[in-house]
């Protein structure tokens, strides 16, 4: 036919000839298309629409036709609609006049269809796209299309040229009814078909060959009986030989086509063909589709059924045993070269025969699948065989799909790199970075610290130092400090300090204010770390990170004229009335919660704060580095507002909780009757609470004198004990009174105390400090307390102490130690514990890794649905169901839930599913519109979300696994976007993120 003429008409020329230009006016056999809006116009806001010229076998490939593309006569083309859930009705139009319906090809899902159209003439192309019955609009994305016919003798030529020599002529071909996919697979996998000419066949050509092979077999025309003398009729009546058309194809008179009432039927059902015969222009029957396919088989749902088919290897094994072992399951297998399946009792045994029996992740290249009758490769060689001596073939489609899905699920095993410690080093680095930053380890980082599978400790320490300077790490440290210094989680019961908050805690400004209080000291501690100051300054520092709101709050709680104001202005008694007190100038503005700076809270000389809390203008003007005198001793972490509001005391408790929690926070220890440190004066001992003869005395002899220290300054409400103005009646009961005999006796240190500041200095110099903070960080890293007697632990603690308590040194030495991440030998039982990631790690890591990816790929978006969102969102619900690291009253160690439970996993899965909607498969990340994008996104998901860079031994396996998830999503009728979201969820719920230390 000479159709392959690749000249084309210019757009302008075509435009000028629109509507009246027949295709004969163009070069014969040559068709052209002008896609002036080829940039994938938006479809009703719900998806994308694009034209595809080829490669329908690979739906991920989207090749938009450009102005210079040509359509070839004799070929069919497809229109691909992705996104949304379009159901049908695509119409080719000529100047808004429909000229013929297009037929929907089988496609891979309702959302990804091939559309075949046939017409003649010069047309404009418009597409009516309907979604669930609603017309989403007529998108006129091609202004001029020259007509083309769908099926011509070109198809026959193709078959004749490429196939007939082996398979005979089309009408009696041994491959009758073969689908294009099988032809494609055959070309790919059958050695005899490994020919360049066949490889060159595009999907369009394969589709045409399919049509030839599926065309109805011509009914042999009876040999005409010659008549000697034809009897002429007087008036010949024209014989009506009108042909029919069916979906754009001409059906000759008396000929039949095979049609289907539905183009796609549910999994488990069958396509029921209907033969439609053309008789004098009338086509019998009503089935309107020329093809039909069965929906991809979903994995059986877990809905309890009588005898569910197991999935995974168990299912595979079951199916094979049931259907194959009659022939293949004995030593005398009648099929030479085939393995005796009965000997393959474990998955590993099957996988030892990977190349022969199956190809990991590729059912189409797996003999155990392709030979199945129900694999869609109908052939006389398909199995299970039946016969007189063989059982009936009872294999079901579901069983075949179990085999297929299992093969899909197999990731090609990659042997671990050489070096006994190779996996160990990767795990150690990943764990350290997960805990310290949440981010993914990069290839360059791996190459900088791992050589021949061995970890270079020096380089690793350098890497840790670098991590500590990153925003991700700083953020993580803030979270750690917030918890470790007991600054978070207070409930507003401090009515004597700030009045009642009843009905106000849901106010946005209250939440912001609370966050200010909780964040203040963590920022202070981080500043100490970043300035390389001795970390024990966290106990003694008077330099605090504050906002205007913080300073107002501190002054409000302090002694001074402001106290009188509180009493004399009942309205101001209500909590946070300084936030929006209508009195005049004391309403805080949004900026007052965000103007962080550092001030030195000095001891007011006259025991009265110099700055009234109502002096907003003055407080706002307090510069960074200024002194801010207050009466109350805001020393270290244990005199902050948030610490005090977390650990409320009262007349019975009498600062005991304050004291105990101070010890726990500062030096990681609590009172014990086993502590034999001699006590000093017992004048502060409560003889009723803890008589000297009671078992309680052993602790209270130390605790009561120590807590007496707080009486220097505080009432039980933590307000200034010199402030005679009270917020409530009965003020005398709220006075703790003067100190009776403050004394420090604890863990080998025994000395009298003169002030809260003295207590701070004593704690800061306590010999337990280095060990305590080594343990706090180690516990945080390992999700459980470390053995203090371990030599490695002691070495780290010593390094910390010898560095003058440099926190970075502590972190560096600890995380580089095998205590946390150095070596995973696994042989001596010393491998660090691997825990579930609590929300502290999980949420942070998901968010940081997305941001890490977005930064590399240039997405400018802050995810909103990772463990956060509106109060009623699933994301927030999932977050609330995730275990959290936290401190509890009287507990020295962090409370951590290191075990995965079904609820934890389900919560993580929901969090991931919600996050996926936000950041995967669309314009915010991990795009999936084209094959290139899909491939890149899958790699990115593995690299960033799973944290398995290309240098990681699991990288390639993970890519295969993620791709299989994406592919499965596509096979389950998902859009590209939704399938990519599935890939994201897979990564997000993988042990790389749900666990710490894998």
């Amino acid at each position: 036919m000479g159709l392959k003429k690749y000249a084309h008409l210019s757009v302008v020329a075509v435009m000028s000839a629109i509507t009246l230009v027949s295709y004969q006016n163009c070069a014969p056999g040559f068709k052209s298309i002008d896609l002036s809006s080829k940039a994938n116009p938006t479809l009703g806001g719900n998806g994308l629409i694009s034209l595809k010229g080829k490669d329908f076998l690979d739906p991920q490939t989207s090749i938009a036709l450009s102005d210079t593309d040509s359509l070839l006569l004799g070929k069919s083309y497809q229109l691909e609609v992705t996104g949304g859930s379009q159901t049908s009705v695509y119409t080719w139009r000529v100047n808004s006049t429909p000229v013929g319906a297009c037929s929907l090809g089988p496609g891979t899902s309702p959302n990804l269809r091939s559309v075949y159209c046939t017409m003649e003439g010069s047309v404009s192309v418009g597409v009516n796209v309907f979604e669930n019955g609603f017309n989403l609009g007529n998108i006129n994305f091609a202004k001029t299309v020259y007509a083309f016919s769908s099926l011509s003798s070109h198809a026959s030529d193709l078959y004749q040229t490429n196939c007939s020599s082996c398979h005979g002529i089309a009408s009696i071909s041994s491959k009758r009814n073969k689908p294009a996919l099988d032809i494609f697979n055959a070309i790919q996998f059958i050695p005899q078909m490994d020919l360049a000419s066949l490889d060159a066949l595009g999907s369009t050509e394969l589709r045409l060959i399919e049509q030839v092979l599926n065309a109805p077999t011509p009914v042999p025309t009876a040999t005409p009986v010659p008549t000697a003398t034809p009897v002429p009729t007087a008036t010949p009546t024209p014989v009506s030989n009108a042909n029919c058309t069916f979906n754009g194809q001409v059906v000759l008179h008396t000929m039949s086509v095979q049609a289907y009432p539905s183009q796609m039927v549910a999994f488990g059902t069958q396509c029921i063909p209907q033969t439609r015969t053309c008789t004098d222009g009338i086509l019998s029957g009503s089935a309107q589709y020329s093809s039909c396919s069965v929906m991809p088989a979903p994995t059986p749902t877990p809905t309890p059924v009588a005898t569910p088919i197991p999935t995974g290897f168990a299912g595979f094994q079951t199916v094979m045993q049931k259907n194959c072992n009659t022939c293949h399951g004995n030593a005398g297998s009648p099929f030479p070269g085939i393995v005796n399946f009965a000997t393959l009792t474990t998955e590993a045994a099957w996988l030892n025969h990977l190349p022969k029996l199956m190809t990991a992740g590729n059912p189409s290249n797996s003999t155990v699948y392709t030979r199945l009758r129900l694999a869609g490769t109908s052939s006389s060689n398909n199995m299970p065989f039946t016969g007189p001596s063989l059982p009936a073939d009872t294999m079901t489609q579901a069983e075949a799909d179990v085999v297929r899905n299992y093969i899909l699920s197999i990731a090609a095993p990659t042997p671990p790199p050489s070096g006994s410690n190779s996996m160990s080093a990767y795990s150690g680095i990943a764990k350290a970075k997960m805990v310290l930053t949440g981010e993914a380890v990069t290839s360059s980082e791996i190459s900088s610290v791992i050589s021949s599978g061995q970890l270079n400790s020096t380089a690793f320490k350098t890497l840790i130092d670098q991590w500590l300077t990153t925003p991700a790490s700083q953020n993580k440290l803030l979270d750690f400090f917030r918890m470790s210094f007991h600054q978070d989680g207070f409930t507003h019961e401090a009515t004597e300090l700030f009045g009642s908050a009843d009905g106000q805690t849901d106010r946005p400004d209250y939440k912001t204010w609370k966050a200010n209080l909780e964040d203040s000291f963590p920022r202070t501690a981080l500043d100490i770390v970043n300035r390389n100051r001795p970390f024990n300054e966290v106990i003694t520092t008077r330099r605090h990170a504050v906002t205007t709101a913080m300073l107002v709050s501190l002054s409000y709680a302090d002694n001074g004229a402001g106290g009188a104001f509180r009493v004399n202005n009942p309205g101001a008694r209500q909590v946070l009335n300084f936030l929006d007190y209508s009195g005049s100038t004391i309403k805080l503005q949004p900026g007052d919660y965000n103007d962080w700076r550092f001030v030195n809270i000095t001891q007011a000389a006259n025991n009265q704060s110099n700055m009234l809390w109502t002096n907003l203008t003055g407080i706002r003007a307090v510069p960074d580095g200024a002194n801010y005198p207050l009466s109350l001793p805001r020393v270290g972490f244990f005199n902050t507002l948030s610490f005090q509001m977390r650990w409320l005391t009262n007349m019975d408790n009498d600062f005991r909780v304050t004291t105990n929690q101070t010890l726990i926070g500062a030096i990681g220890a609590s009172f014990s009757p086993a502590d034999s440190t001699p006590h000093g004066t017992l004048s502060a001992l409560d003889p009723v609470h803890a008589p000297t003869t009671s078992s309680c005395f052993q602790c209270h002899r130390m605790m009561d004198p120590m807590r007496d220290t707080f009486r220097f300054n505080y009432r039980w409400s933590y307000r200034d004990n010199k402030d005679t103005n009270s917020l409530s009646s009965g003020s005398s009961s709220l006075l703790s009174g003067a100190p009776k005999g403050p004394y420090f006796a604890f863990a080998g240190v025994s000395k009298p105390l003169t002030s809260v500041e003295d207590l701070a200095q004593t704690l800061a110099s306590h010999p337990l400090f280095a060990e305590a903070w080594t343990q706090k960080v180690c516990t945080y890293a390992n999700s459980g307390p470390c053995d203090k007697n371990d030599a490695r632990f002691q070495a780290v603690a010593a390094s910390f102490k010898n560095s003058n308590y440099n926190f970075k040194t502590l972190v560096r030495e600890l995380f580089a130690s095998s205590l946390v991440s150095g070596e995973y030998t696994g042989s001596n039982g010393s491998a660090p514990f691997i825990s579930a990631a609590r929300s502290n790690h999980f949420c942070h890591a998901v968010k940081r890794r997305y941001l890490q990816y977005a930064g590399v790929r240039g997405f400018v978006y802050t995810p909103v649905s990772i463990c956060s969102g509106t109060a009623a969102s699933r994301s927030v619900a999932a977050y609330s169901a995730l275990p959290k690291d936290e401190v509890a009253r009287g507990m020295v160690d962090i409370s951590q839930s290191p075990s995965l439970t079904p609820f934890t996993f389900a919560a993580m899965e929901v969090a991931c599913e919600e996050a996926a909607k936000d950041v995967a498969g669309g314009t915010r990340g991990f795009p999936a519109a084209t094959t290139v994008e899909v491939s890149q996104s899958i790699t990115d998901i593995v690299t960033y979300m799973m944290g398995l860079s290309t240098s990681h031994p699991r990288h390639s396996m993970a890519v295969s696994a993620v791709k299989s998830v994406y592919d499965y999503g596509k096979s389950a009728a998902l859009t590209n976007t939704a399938a990519m979201q599935q890939a994201f969820v897979f990564a997000c719920t993988s042990p790389e993120l749900t666990g710490v230390g894998l």
């Binding site: 009287g890 079904p902 389950a972």
Partner: protein, 431 residues
């Protein structure tokens, strides 16, 4: 290497068992029992019961207003100061009106256990749950918390997914099982993470993700460290358990959002119905940390007794009343005689556990007596429940309470004596 192969085979066996028998198969593999055995009614008809265990580290004055505490000298706030006569089964007692208002059928299996918890600090909640170390772990080494120990014993009989307790409320301290802190599960989050309906497509996609994940980490399972293999097993099992729980809460969580306390009850009953855990831990307030004034003591008592009635109704409506034991046990009681401010201090010397269930005998066991300026628990006659001829000294009453709760949950005497080294079963409190 052989160890790896062994783990691998075991794991595959578990998976196979799971897949072969659906939900029943899942429970089967966890239990090591054949599905057919689990499916038999004989298995469910055993004496073991679920446990709903309430505890609160604030320490509430529940001890001051219950039957047995209405003796001269003990302080009762507000309307609680007027005792009401009511029946506990066939026994008539006097107590606060909220207790009298409980349904008679509940009161017919309601028991008050007066005892000494030997605690005075909020931080000692864990010690109480461990009976100061008297409750031993399953290996006999170390201590175990009461709801965890009971779960470890009754799990196989009840056929639950886990033997660890499910925590549905913050109790102010750690809840551990095998020394591992258990996560808090907020009741209202359950409906979100286990939506009432999951589409077949979603189910299919999740299953495929599980398969793909299983394949991807095959190398870790075979070549990883012990810790890595253990974590991967946990991961797979957790995912499968989550899959099996999907749809379990379609109706059983109805009514969430009424109140914090009732939400806990709803969640507890739902988790029991779903056979998640043998023991569910909740936290009901009965007056809280009321040092300086009586505070919420009266209101809390009324409200929490209403919650107990709600629990009773819920259990009955779900057919769980005869399979569930409730026990309330706080870190300490509060001083029976109020202080000058009208409040109460920490007081472990008199604590009261409240218990009801199918194996619970109604009544009052143990007692309080005034000595000097405060009330103290007495020793207990384990047969009669009185202070006369006590065979359980005061110092062992906490252990005796632990044993008695175990007994109420259907644990046999031999096992009880193996797991709890202190005190005796208080026969007066159990049938």
């Amino acid at each position: 290497m052989s160890q790896n192969k062994k783990d691998y085979s075991r794991r595959e066996f578990l998976k196979n068992s799971l897949a072969l028998a659906g939900t029943l198969g899942f429970r089967s593999f966890l239990l090591g029992l054949p599905p057919s055995f689990l499916a038999s009614r004989a298995m469910a008809a055993g004496p073991a019961t679920y446990l709903i265990y309430s505890t609160f580290s604030e320490g509430c004055p529940v001890n001051a207003n219950v039957p047995g505490s209405y003796i001269p000298g003990i302080t009762h706030p507000g309307s609680l100061n007027t005792p009401v006569s009511f029946s506990l089964g066939t026994t008539t007692v006097q107590g606060g009106a909220p207790w009298a208002n409980l349904p008679a059928a509940l009161r017919a299996r309601l028991q008050f256990l007066h005892h000494d918890s030997r605690t005075n600090s909020h931080a000692e909640g864990e010690n109480v749950m461990k009976a100061h170390g008297a409750i031993k772990s399953s290996s006999g080494n170390g201590a175990e918390m009461l709801p965890s120990a009971i779960g470890q014993i009754t799990k196989s009989t009840l056929g639950t997914l886990s033997d660890s307790p499910a925590l549905v409320a913050s109790i102010g301290s750690n809840l551990t099982a095998n020394s591992i802190p258990q996560p808090l599960l907020a009741p209202r989050s359950i409906t979100q993470i286990f939506p009432t309906s999951v589409t077949a497509t979603t189910t299919s996609l999740r299953q495929f993700r599980d398969q793909a994940l299983d394949s991807l980490y095959r190398d870790v399972r075979t070549n990883g460290t012990t810790a890595q293999r253990k974590f991967m097993d946990d991961h797979v099992i957790s995912a499968q358990q989550a899959r099996n729980l999907a749809g379990e809460f379609q109706t059983t969580l109805s009514g969430l959002g009424v109140s914090r306390e009732k939400d806990q009850i709803i969640a507890a009953c739902a988790l029991i119905a779903a056979k998640v855990s043998p023991s569910i831990v909740v936290s009901l307030p009965f007056g809280r940390d009321n040092h300086s004034a009586s505070g919420t003591e009266e209101a809390d008592t009324i409200a929490s007794c209403d919650v107990l009635a709600f629990l009773w109704d819920r259990l009955n409506s779900m057919g769980l009343a005869n399979q569930t034991t409730f026990c309330l046990q706080n870190v300490f009681g509060r001083s029976p005689i109020a202080n000058a401010a009208g409040g109460r201090g920490h007081w472990g010397a008199h604590n009261v556990a409240v218990m009801f269930g199918p194996n619970v005998k109604p009544g009052v066991t143990g007692s309080v007596k005034i000595s000097g300026t405060q009330g103290y628990s007495t020793g207990i006659n384990s047969v009669t429940g009185s202070a006369t001829s006590p065979d359980v000294p005061t110092t062992e009453t906490l252990g005796a309470v632990a044993k008695t709760v175990m007994k109420a949950c259907g644990v046999d005497d031999t096992t009880i004596d193996q797991r709890v080294s202190l005190g005796k079963i208080l026969r007066s409190a159990v049938v």
